[in-house]
């Protein structure tokens, strides 16, 4: 793992994108081919299966370090990362000869541990720890625990790979998508695009946040507007013999939405649609809040009751493949027209519809429409240049999300609590006090802050008692 550890150190030792790209490109030119494939898999979130539980790792590491469990936990709380805690706890010098396994050998070795008796797995992990430097041990533990974050964005990965292979970035981004298995895919096959199989999705086009309104975007006639729905962005794939639904996070979620499965029977083969999965309020014919959909996420099987309460519907934004032809390079207005035709040809009653376009002639009128987004259960508007291709990833200038401003409220922070695990040393949970009744200066702005300031800046008992509501907010840190 020396080569992989060196790559990691190079990536981790800089915050500069250029240096990271260069380090990765060099790795993709020189590392063993099988290791390159695993590295791509790890950096794109394809994790090897866990052969050892986190509980076992903690136990064995504490034993090997000769410390009690509680001291392990204290250490973990400070370090904030299990793999790193273990790597740091064990004496730094290898106790055995440096085996220098390749990444491929290390991962396959771990794979063979799956299902073995505890004693055997324990001995294997302890032996491996004894033969590694601290950085290698950290990475090995990351492989064991399955969580890999190396601070490498998808765009950076494809750029480095493009530099190393000479294949164009957008083409590579597409070839790295889908359900390829790093254990059976070779590097040349992956780069040539033979890895993903028939269900491979296209890289999602992403929008940028529109900060100062659309005034500077030019003539309104060049733009298409639609609602920005608050659901799960998805890509629906119907190809000969294949039906697949992918989330934006490149997760195959076909089985989570059996209510969309009838589409497999009716969409013409060779159709790929980008759209939003929403929990639908059939009675009012509008989306349910995201919370309704959230109940379905993360469940491998969805109960009949939940299917009835939160039925899924796919609102189509864009057509990427039509009759087996990749049409991403064509203008959006053209793609959209073809998409409308494809969906219009479907029999009625299917859980799919085109996400309606919003007609507008000037930006002011559109601003008024945007203000009604909440009533539509939308987060705001999307603005897309009518002539834009469907690009890979985020490309500033053609696609904008113009979200509603969040609501604000005057509140007083009463408590702050430190986080656990990787959020150790950060305050992550806050308790706020909010007054609910109108005061002399009107509702909400009753000067909670002033009252607290008068009480020497402390969250006073007065506030605590008069605060009718305690809001508990977990901040994503």
């Amino acid at each position: 793992m020396n080569r992989f550890a060196a790559l990691f150190a190079a990536l981790d030792g800089t915050t500069k994108t250029g240096a990271k790209t260069a380090a990765l490109a060099d790795y993709f030119r020189t590392a063993p081919e099988a290791d390159r494939v695993w590295t791509i898999a790890l950096l794109t979130g394809r994790r090897p299966r866990r052969s050892v539980s986190a509980t076992e790792l903690r136990l064995w590491a504490a034993e090997a370090a000769g410390i009690p469990d509680w001291l392990f936990e204290e250490s973990y709380a400070v370090v904030g990362d299990l793999a790193e805690t273990i790597a740091l706890l064990l004496p730094a010098l290898p106790t055995g000869p440096d085996l220098d396994l390749t990444l491929d050998e290390a991962i396959r070795g771990l794979g063979r541990l799956t299902g073995q008796p505890t004693e055997l797995r324990r001995a294997a992990v302890l032996a491996a720890w004894g033969q590694m430097t601290a950085v290698e041990r950290f990475l090995y533990n990351k492989l064991l625990t399955g969580g890999f974050r190396m601070g490498v964005a998808q765009g950076l990965l494809t750029r480095a790979l493009a530099q190393a292979t000479g294949v164009e970035e957008a083409t590579l981004a597409h070839r790295l998508m889908g359900d390829w298995d790093p254990a059976t895919t070779t590097f040349p096959a992956l780069i040539a695009g033979d890895g993903g199989g028939n269900a491979r999705p296209y890289p999602f086009a992403l929008a940028s946040q529109l900060e100062n309104g659309p005034g500077a975007l030019g003539p309104p006639a060049d733009w298409l507007a639609e609602w920005k729905w608050d659901g799960i962005r998805g890509q629906l794939i119907a190809r000969p013999g294949t039906y697949a639904l992918w989330s934006r996070g490149e997760e195959l979620i076909t089985d989570r939405f059996p209510d969309l499965a009838p589409l497999a029977d009716f969409l013409p083969a060779g159709t790929v649609i980008d759209g939003e999965i929403l929990a639908w309020n059939t009675g009012e014919n509008r989306p349910q809040p995201f919370a309704a959909l959230q109940r379905r996420i993360g469940r491998k099987t969805v109960s009949k009751a939940l299917l009835a309460e939160a039925p899924a519907r796919f609102l189509a934004y864009d057509l990427l493949e039509d009759a087996g032809e990749d049409i991403r390079h064509l203008p959006l207005s053209h793609r959209r027209a073809r998409m409308e035709a494809v969906i219009a040809a479907l029999p009625p009653g299917l859980p799919v519809a085109v996400s309606p376009g919003i007609a507008f002639h000037d930006w002011d009128a559109l601003a008024h429409t945007r203000a009604t987004a909440r009533a539509k259960s939308a987060e705001g508007l999307m603005l897309k240049r009518a002539a834009s291709p469907y690009f890979a990833g985020r490309k500033r200038g053609d696609w904008w999300k113009w979200k509603l401003d969040p609501w604000t409220v005057d509140a007083v922070m009463l408590y702050a609590q430190a986080g656990h695990g990787r959020r150790a040393n950060l305050f992550t949970d806050f308790t706020f006090g909010v007054t609910l009744w109108p005061g002399p200066q009107g509702p909400r702005r009753t000067g909670v802050r002033d009252r607290v300031r008068r009480n020497t800046g402390q969250p006073s008992a007065q506030v605590r008692h008069r605060a009718a509501l305690s809001a508990h907010a977990a901040l994503a840190a």
Partner: protein, 333 residues
């Protein structure tokens, strides 16, 4: 029962028999001070007693003070107490303070590290009945690599930056760590210093500590005038306008805290070198064992878990609260 050799007050550690404080944080008539870092040497004391080697830095930092100095190892009677200063290995001149009253000996470690760094007087274990130990890095995840390994890595980084036409800026505390780096790195190009670092370096140089020649960064100095140079500056200078004026640079922070990836990343630091002037986990445990003390008070750092650990090792252990705690990455080293 006689009062203990040392007690813990809201002014700091106090010796009733000798009527003096050790590293007090509020003004007292008589202060014994372990070393010149600002969380130990505070202004406003009636008089100071420090080690010979620590005095110049303390004078430089505190201005006009009434101070007396004592050689390492020499005993002095203060009231009913006998005191002596012993090298702590933390920074040049840093001391542990040994206090004996009626045959009972307590030692206040101040800040210390057990690995000799080639500049500070090496740590010397002192036998005692009660040992008051810092524990800035009192968790088993802190294990330092030997200094030569870390210095070699820094040298490699410096050379690579120089080859890429960049200056190398090391963020290091201006008293102690900065000079340790100066003494430990073999010169491979000019060495520039921030004014705060140069000040302290000059004081130590005047005392006779072997330090290489350095050049204070002035407005006319940049990467163009001193290509391939190493710059040593306080951590606060990293990423500052002061640093960007120098031209293309690479920056790194040198601190024990850099051992934890999350701490380094939260400070948005790319490169960190793990080099500390505090004892690591094995260092703390070895030092405590070497004193032969049965009773240990811990202070400055991960006091709660470290005290509990010491109890499991059979010590009678307690915690001394101080105004300065070293349990986060912002703490002064």
């Amino acid at each position: 029962m006689a009062s203990p050799v040392l007690t813990f007050t809201d002014h700091g550690i106090f010796c009733p028999a000798g009527d003096f404080h050790i590293d007090p944080w509020r003004p007292v008539p008589r202060a014994l001070v372990t070393h010149g870092h600002s969380d130990h040497a505070r202004p406003g004391m009636g008089s100071y007693l420090v080690s010979d080697q620590a005095l110049p830095v303390i004078r430089r930092r505190l201005g006009p003070i009434t101070a007396d100095a004592i050689p390492f190892g020499q005993s002095r009677q203060i009231g009913g107490a006998t005191v002596s200063f012993h090298p702590a290995g933390h920074v040049p001149g840093s001391a542990q303070i040994k206090v004996t009253v009626a045959g009972e000996t307590w030692v206040v470690s101040g800040d210390y590290k057990t690995e000799p760094d080639g500049l500070a007087e090496p740590y010397e274990p002192v036998r005692c009945h009660t040992f008051i130990s810092e524990c800035t890095f009192g968790l088993p995840v802190f294990r330092w690599e030997p200094q030569p390994k870390v210095m070699a890595r820094i040298a490699e980084w410096w050379a690579a930056n120089a080859a890429a036409g960049k200056l190398s800026i090391l963020g290091a505390y201006s008293f102690g760590k900065a000079q340790r780096l100066l003494a430990g790195l073999s010169p491979q190009g000019p060495i520039l210093t921030h004014a705060a670092v140069e000040d302290m370096t000059q004081v130590l140089r005047d005392q006779g500590y072997p330090l290489p020649p350095t050049t204070r960064v002035t407005p006319d100095i940049t990467g163009r005038s001193h290509p391939g140079a190493l710059v040593i500056a306080p951590p606060s200078a990293l990423g500052s306008a002061w640093a960007s004026r120098l031209g293309p640079t690479e920056e790194a922070f040198v601190s024990g805290w850099m051992a934890v990836r999350g701490i380094r990343r939260r400070r948005a630091l790319g490169t960190g070198f793990v080099l500390s002037d505090h004892a690591d986990w094995p260092g703390l445990n070895d030092a405590i064992a070497a004193t032969g003390a049965e009773r240990i008070f811990v202070t400055h750092g991960y006091t709660t878990p470290f005290r509990r650990w010491l109890e499991t090792q059979g010590y009678d252990a307690g915690i001394v609260e101080t105004r300065f705690t070293g349990d986060d990455a912002e703490a002064v080293e």
